[in-house]
Symmetry: C2
Subunit: 273 residues, 2 copies
């Protein structure tokens, strides 16, 4: 996933290296002119991953969204090499526009350890081939900025098959992403932010237009190697809601039912004035 090629995933999910610890990525925006948090997360991870040996694989990342980013303006990523131990490397990334930090991410990498993972069981839902493609399901908001739908095929599991407070969709990159494990994890990170805030808010669709949702943080754990150019089921579910904030969790499963990644995000909920 070399960001200098014309591969659309590379352009949108990757960060181009400017200097040893400085990178830059395009910012395609999401709602209105605001940057899309999943893109900032993916590019931050891509920047961090280019500063560690290739055999060290990201196993977790925790980030805070500090300010909103502006779409259409490049984002610069500054990486700090916090630590390189025998088995683990830690990197701190700051995403910057106009000299101000938008997002701060800590990423931990571990020398790859063979062996599969097991965990929460996959929900019993229809397979992607049994569901129709759903570019249109993103609705009016996403139709204005349809880049996620240009990059990924989404197949939503019908509401009637999903528990209240949850959402599930199958997702797969439209094009192969290549054999770089980092590119695959960046793509999963990008997707992990799609539609998560609305589940975290606990608001139903009728209430959403009356409120503004802002991601506060984002955590992701990669349990084993995974590919975003093969189908993954993303199960998002709410955990807690207050008047001002909501927390959601999520899990990515392969078609074979293997849990490959887990996610958590808190969002700020504000009534629209």
């Amino acid at each position: 996933m070399e960001p200098t090629e014309s591969h659309p995933h590379a352009i949108h999910l990757g960060a181009e290296r400017l200097e040893a610890l400085m990178f830059r990525g395009v910012c395609h925006g999401a709602i209105g002119n605001r940057a899309f948090g999943g893109q900032v997360l993916a590019q931050s991870l891509h920047a961090a991953g280019q500063t560690v040996p290739a055999e060290r694989i990201a196993h977790s990342a925790h980030g805070y969204y500090i300010r909103g980013g502006r779409a259409g303006q490049p984002i610069v990523y500054r990486v700090e090499a916090t630590r390189d131990g025998r088995s683990f490397s830690t990197r701190q990334v700051q995403a910057v526009q106009d000299g101000e930090v938008l997002f701060s991410l800590t990423v931990s990498f571990q020398v790859a350890v063979p062996g599969a993972a097991h965990g929460l069981p996959m929900p019993d839902v229809p397979l992607p081939d049994e569901l129709t493609g759903t570019r249109g399901l993103f609705g009016a908001v996403w139709d204005r900025q349809p880049i996620p739908a240009q990059l990924f095929d989404f197949r939503f599991v019908p509401d009637g098959l999903v528990p209240a407070g949850s959402q599930m969709y199958w997702v797969r990159a439209w094009e192969p992403l290549g054999e770089d494990p980092l590119a695959q994890l960046c793509a999963i990170s990008y997707v992990s932010d799609i539609k998560l805030a609305s589940i975290a808010s606990g608001l139903d669709r009728a209430e959403l237009p009356g409120h503004t949702l802002s991601s506060l943080d984002h955590s992701i754990w990669f349990h084993q190697p995974a590919r975003a150019d093969e189908w993954l089921l993303y199960h998002q579910h709410g955990r807690a809601v207050s008047d001002s904030r909501g927390l959601a969790s999520g899990e990515f499963f392969t078609v074979a039912g293997d849990l490959v990644a887990s996610v958590a995000q808190e969002v700020l909920i504000r009534p629209r004035r």
Copy 2:
């Protein structure tokens, strides 16, 4: 919870202010001579919280354990004032011994917003008064370093009433912690690390002595004000396990069934040589 008084919770969970952005805490250790992660977390939060106005309440914290700490040697906490916005403040804390960073924590504070939270329902378990006190249940490891049991009363829910891969206990500080909301959240943070790693590992009790568990990270979200000197039910459950790492989640509930805090932690699992 002034750490200069002789209150045992203040001594163990608090950090004494040395300078505007520098603090120091005692380190009581846990297993062998290693520092206890929950204490480092609580003291980091206490340090960060002393640098923001009292009406700004911690709503989340994400930290990475970078090196093991030494029990019996003070830990110094350096706080960086990352941001002070209209509603939110962000702080970065580094816990240091011998010039090396042991733990790095980012904490986000929000001006208190009134209103209760709701979320995951509380599991149906016996109330603490129906369960016996369980200092002894910490077993041999904790009996050598019983400070957590000196600070908190633990009432474990019997295994037969708990789903596989889960653990639940009621917990309450033996002494009142006062009216400072920060002291209450520090105490919940301290407790949140107790017994969590073994659930995250997915190992049963017979396998645990054959393995070394090290916490890799720790996330905590505070959904609403809560008191650690009143009974809280802590439900810990495994989410994913691989050959080298495991992930667990947890929730704290009041006796009334209100979800007040959520937790996530990944641990490193190594066979003992």
